[in-house]
Symmetry: C2
Subunit: 338 residues, 2 copies
């Protein structure tokens, strides 16, 4: 018997095929798998591509797969409306059970088997969940860049842009973020020197225009610049990352009750720096019994959930074996940091 877990994200999709013993036998990836953000045709291509990729790896076919779990943001709304993906999978020979699960539950299940624990995501967005008995019982933040996602990549990137704007406008301190943001926004060269007719620097006008020419959420692309500047001892960058970490700790505190493992994922909390340091220090301070695990995808967790749905008892040893068998995103992003 085989099962499959699919982590269908807004940017990319990852699929993992596993045996009933918990051994990963095929791994695949595809483009965006989220029909809300990308539309059904693109999401269908992303999910289907990742699934057939994983099957091809193992020389298996969809008819061999007893159950598939697709983990996805906003899964609730889609619980009853799975036709966009179920019908095409049936056409491809799938006769098993398809289940949708929360992407946050899948992320948690990628790092922990314990029935009670926590998931903390900090990438472009930011949120925290408490898991009890294999389901999410509390959620904090995750409300998007406009009214939430405190301490997220967007939050950090917007703060970097604002710091650059403030320095150029003469109302904020000098910071290494200013040249870095100008470079990343493509504001360069002679035409951005000097001052315009309104007395303000031309670079300010051009940066502001470049910022409004992007989708707001793209400001998260500036977040890595803040880590680089903080590494080089820039105090403005260090303050931004410290505040982001404090916000993330606050979000975690909103869901925390009894001790349990904390599974964290996303580009901001995965990178070594103040947000991760502050979260780890906080966990150590509140309890000795809150192990911290970093994961880089929900695909393993979705597969663990698929095993559970198939009636198989999963344990820590099975999770460790499955994690060890999955290719990471690169040398810099270990599958597990205990």
């Amino acid at each position: 018997m085989l099962v499959m877990g699919v982590d269908a994200g807004g940017t990319s999709t990852r699929a993992l095929l596993a045996t009933a013993a918990g051994d990963g036998v095929g791994f695949g990836s595809g483009g965006s798998g989220n029909p809300t953000s990308s539309g059904i045709p693109i999401a269908l291509a992303g999910v289907r591509g990742a699934i057939s990729d994983a099957l091809a790896h193992a020389g298996a076919s969809l008819g061999d797969v007893a159950g598939i779990v697709i983990a996805m943001a906003g899964h609730d709304a889609r619980g009853g409306v799975s036709d966009w993906i179920l019908e095409p999978l049936k056409e491809d020979g799938f006769t098993g059970a398809l289940t949708f699960e929360s992407d946050l539950l899948a992320m948690y299940s990628s790092g922990a088997v314990a029935p009670v624990g926590y998931g903390v995501v900090c990438g472009t967005g930011a949120s925290a969940v408490r898991v009890e008995g294999g389901r999410i019982v509390a959620t904090a933040d995750g409300l998007g860049w406009l009214v939430g996602d405190r301490g997220s990549g967007f939050w950090i990137g917007r703060a970097a842009a604002a710091a650059a704007v403030d320095e150029l406008d003469g109302v904020g301190p000098a910071t290494a973020l200013t040249p870095a943001v100008l470079r990343a926004a493509g504001v360069l060269g002679e035409h951005s020197e000097g001052r315009g007719a309104d007395g303000r620097p031309r670079a300010l006008e051009q940066l502001v225009r470049a910022l409004y020419g992007r989708r707001p959420v793209q400001l998260s692309e500036f977040a890595p610049l803040v880590f680089d500047a903080a590494d080089a001892q820039d105090p403005v960058a260090a303050r931004i990352l410290t505040e982001a970490g404090e916000q993330l700790v606050r979000t975690f505190e909103l869901v925390r009750e009894e001790p349990g493992p904390v599974v964290a994922g996303g580009s901001i909390v995965s990178r070594s720096g103040p947000p991760q340091q502050l979260l780890r220090a906080h966990l150590a301070a509140v309890s000795e019994d809150q192990p911290f695990v970093l994961v880089d995808s929900g695909a393993v967790g979705a597969t663990m959930l698929a095993l559970r749905h198939a009636g198989i008892d999963v344990d820590e040893a099975m999770l460790a074996r499955m994690r060890a068998g999955v290719p990471g995103r690169g040398a810099g992003s270990p599958g597990c940091t205990p």
Copy 2:
């Protein structure tokens, strides 16, 4: 001899035709006149409509007009590229001089003739300028909702939305803003009661979805709800408006030097409430010689600038006469509040 001033805004355009003696003889209005935000065809229709409206009022034709000043945001970039409007006006018989001016300078000139003074705008956006010798010599803020416009209608409206989200999510205090924002966002009725599968209120999920379904700047539509709630003694609403007023005072302080008249415009600072109160109290505290004038359009100021460009000496009496002759936006928005 006749001159014309045009206030070409992102939402509407107003045009005023005046004699060399400063008497307004025709007033017209049209749709959006800003080619950057609305595109050239719409802006052209808006500006042309307002101009022909004003001419029709006075039984005059474009051939009678010696000079036109068009006041517009971001006018600098358009200084050398006026063809989109100059050519059509020539076709309509215009043989005079066309000049572009800053919308902020026109707003200032709608309320003051003094060579040194200040303009403060707080509507959807927020900014302050210092005027010296008939031109803007310093500008603060006005950098848009993403990295600026502190204390603006957007800023207030976003704070109202965030307060509603926080109350619904159990992380903020109860506030009259929550039902008001839910109503304004169309989140109503049975389907928004109770809690969803993730344990969060359905109304929260629906409000968040409604917020992201709008253009960000539309959050400024919630600003009037904050004034209403503050009038009814809601402490959350009062705090938002007080902070907005403090931000506006800070923006003004960035450009303030010697005393001079302060001309203010925009829906937030025009409405009686904490932002206007705080700005007035601040002006009274820093100098006895900072009269405060509210204006509701830059059309009068653009016309005063057109008279100046035509070589006519303008004075306070001429400004007062012109203001008195222009129809206001309604009984609730007086042309002048000394």
